[in-house]
């Protein structure tokens, strides 16, 4: 059977149409229409394993790789597929497909791998490779391009503050700390060690409801501060180059700082933020400023932002002093320069969540002697406070302390003494007094052989008052006291809280003082 000429022509035309069609739609090198694809891969040289979950959450934009594919040719590039693989940690990702990139067009493909939990078990950086595979149609066949990049998976305590390549970095504060939000992954309020320590702090504060009121929040913050003082937590200066952002830095999880009893400013800030968050004060910030970091807590009702200079733990500062120092530093220095407030609440809600930390023995705080130390102080505090009032003043005192009252050289008095070793005493006297406040103070001071360390004056209504502190020795032991003198309507009131210096040094005395002082009210001042 032979084909007619017409059919032969048909067949020839169809063959030509198919050939030209293929050339038209796929491009042809022979006719100058070959697809040209420019591939540019941005990638993270270091993966921060403490924040490994972040890389799998596209909304956070912490991609591991970003591939920019540009069509620089004259014909469309078709059937483009991009996939990735991290050697030893992921399998090839499902390819993202782009049906067509027109001439002059581009697509941007990002890689957000679900990294395995095991990366959080790394204790030191591990080198590996990131592979990027791009395929597309070229001249009727599939072109495949595979690139590999050297990357490092960091140890679980390590952070690099910036992932911006050195050649692109402007060396500005935000550039050097572009990874700062990842610090939120170090804040671990649900870690059992953190919770238990935080609960001890709250117990010191008398079991305040932190999230119910500003007052409760401040009490809790103060109790936690006291617990840290009692634990003997200290500030350790950062190693040289810590803040340059160039190298991976070791950052402790709060459990490590609590158990070690020391940390850098960033360690202390993270730990304190975790401890208060564990009591329901979740609106906490890590404030990064050039060369320094400190926590900031937003109070639940007023919304006031309370900064805490956690490095003053070194000096045994009171909570109030830590706050005052932080406020002072902020006003004088940090507010004028660049700063990065890391909202732990916001970033953790967005997915910057802590890794799974290895379980520790449930009695770890006891094994380290930390729990006993704090419980001992709580015991010294005498449990709940009990009220005392007369016509002149009211006050609350530790219920288990021994009470005494009567008259002495100062006049009428009432006192409460720590029963165990009588190393702490709360004493209030009152007496009719004609003369000035300074006369009254001179009279009281003449009764004792003490060295006055400091004094401040003030006025409440028509009543002047003075606060002062003293130091002296008694039976070979150094003692210190905080005292208040008030002269009002012809009555002098003298309040003295005195304790052996060792109780001030270990934080016990200041804890009692801070608890009791807020309850003192000289009723003769009127109202």
């Amino acid at each position: 059977m032979s084909l007619s000429r017409k059919n032969l022509i048909n067949l020839a035309l169809i063959a030509l149409i198919v050939a030209v069609g293929v050339l038209t739609f796929t491009g042809s090198a022979a006719l100058g229409g070959e697809p040209k694809l420019d591939i540019n891969v941005h990638y993270k040289e270091q993966i921060i394993s403490a924040a490994y979950k972040v890389y799998g959450r596209p909304s956070l934009k912490f991609w591991v790789a970003k591939t920019v594919l540009k069509n620089t040719g004259d014909v469309p590039v078709r059937n483009v597929k991009v996939s990735y693989y991290i050697d030893g940690y992921t399998s090839w990702s499902t390819p993202t497909e782009y049906d067509e990139i027109p001439p002059g067009g581009a697509v941007v493909d990002t890689y957000y791998p679900k990294l395995p939990k095991k990366v959080a078990e790394l204790t030191s950086p591990v080198p590996t490779k990131l592979y990027i595979k791009v395929t597309y149609d070229k001249g009727g066949r599939t072109e495949e391009i595979v690139q590999s990049k050297d990357i490092e998976i960091l140890g679980v305590h390590d952070i690099v503050y910036s992932s911006i390549p050195a050649e692109e970095s402007l060396l500005t504060f935000p550039d050097v700390f572009s990874n700062a939000p990842l610090l939120a992954a170090w804040v671990t309020p649900t870690d059992p060690v953190v919770r238990e320590f935080s609960d001890l702090g709250n117990k010191l504060a008398g079991g305040a409801g932190a999230s119910l009121s500003d007052e409760g929040a401040l009490k809790t913050m103060q109790g936690i501060w006291q617990a840290l003082l009692i634990r003997g937590t200290t500030y350790k200066t950062e190693p040289e180059g810590f803040w340059t952002g160039k190298y991976a830095q070791y950052v402790k999880f709060p459990r490590d700082t609590i158990l070690d009893g020391e940390g850098t400013c960033i360690d202390l800030a993270i730990m304190y933020a975790s401890l208060v968050a564990a009591q329901g004060l979740t609106d906490v910030y890590i404030m990064l400023v050039p060369g320094h970091a400190f926590p900031v807590v937003r109070l639940p009702k007023s919304g006031a932002m309370i900064p805490i200079e956690t490095t003053t733990l070194n000096q045994g500062a009171t909570f109030k002093q830590a706050v005052q120092t932080a406020v002072y530093n902020w006003q004088q220095k940090f507010s004028k320069g660049p700063y990065i407030p890391i909202s732990v609440k916001m970033w953790q809600a967005s997915g910057v969540t802590p890794p799974e930390l290895p379980p520790l023995p449930p009695d770890i705080l006891e094994r380290k002697g930390i729990k006993q130390k704090i419980l001992e102080v709580i015991n010294k505090l005498g449990g709940e406070l009990r009220s005392y009032s007369n016509n002149y003043f009211s006050i609350r005192y530790p219920s288990s302390w021994s009470e005494d009252s009567g008259t002495d050289d100062e006049g009428s008095f009432v006192s409460w003494t720590y029963p165990e070793d009588e190393g702490m005493t709360l004493y209030v006297s009152w007496t009719p007094f004609q003369g000035s406040l300074s006369d009254y103070i001179s009279y009281i001071e003449s009764l004792y052989d003490e060295h006055r360390m400091g004094m401040q004056q003030g006025q409440i209504g028509a009543c002047p008052y003075v606060v002062a502190s003293y130091a002296w020795e008694y039976e070979g032991q150094p003692w210190m006291s905080n005292e208040i003198y008030i002269l009002c309507k012809g009555v002098g009131i003298h309040l003295s809280f005195q304790a052996e210096k060792r109780y001030w040094d270990d934080g016990t005395a200041s804890t009692v003082w801070e608890r009791v002082m807020g309850t003192f009210y000289p009723m003769i001042a009127g109202g």
Binding site: K6, N10, L13, I17, V20, T24, F25, G27, L31, G33, W63, K66, V68, K70, N71, V75, E97, D99, E100, I101, P102, P103, G104, G105, A106, V107, V108, D109, L170, T172, P174, V296, G303, A304, M305, P307, A317, T318, F319, Q321, V323, Q324, A326, V327, Y328, P341, I342, S343, M346, M453, Q456, G458, V467, S469, A509, W513, M517, G518, P522, G526
Partner: protein, 235 residues
Amino acid sequence: MRVKLKLLLLIMISLFLYGLPQLEAQPIALGQPVKGIELPVKVEMDDLLNMTVLENGLVKVNEVVKATATGYLVLKQQYPLTFLFKRFIEMDKADIELENLTVNFDDANRRVTASYVALGMTAKKMDKWVFSIEGDAKLTTRAGNTLVFSKTSPLPLGGKKNMVITVHLPESASDVSVTTEGGYTKIYYRLPSNGLSGNPVLIGILGILIALLVLNLVLKEGLLGLPKMLKKGKS
């Protein structure tokens, strides 16, 4: 009144007395009232984006960031120079690629203007294009191929950014639809097939061949009969 005075007294005494034994070691004076720090917690910014989508999928963007007096001060404090603000924009849009980015400060009007070309906001899937806006943006108005979206994003300290995004699709775009998928607001649209416009010479040849095939099928004797027909017509 009594309660207030009592409170005042307690506060004052507390402020004065905390930690007196550590007085000498502390740099701050007793009696200094304890206050929180002032942070720009109520900063509000308007972010107006005007986006023109080209037929090849690139997007030309003009962006205007306007802020309250406080907000603008904070912004300028953190990004005092235009190249620093460039980085702010780049970081904010880390999942796409920006080219030809320029930034200008307009202090008198408390605003920053930026322009750039965005790569990666569009992609072609099958025969449709998809333009993606991050987050759940609300379509407020539409006029032809111009769509206006609004969106509010929280700022880290509790303030907010009010975004108005105007998207101009190509004039030739058709079959436009808007959906929300996987944390993105997506605009789907079609463009006239650009496969045929890839190589004009080849398309021309293809057209001629198809015409010849049709002719060959229609004519009784095929194309070879054409000279005869022409001859016949002449006579």
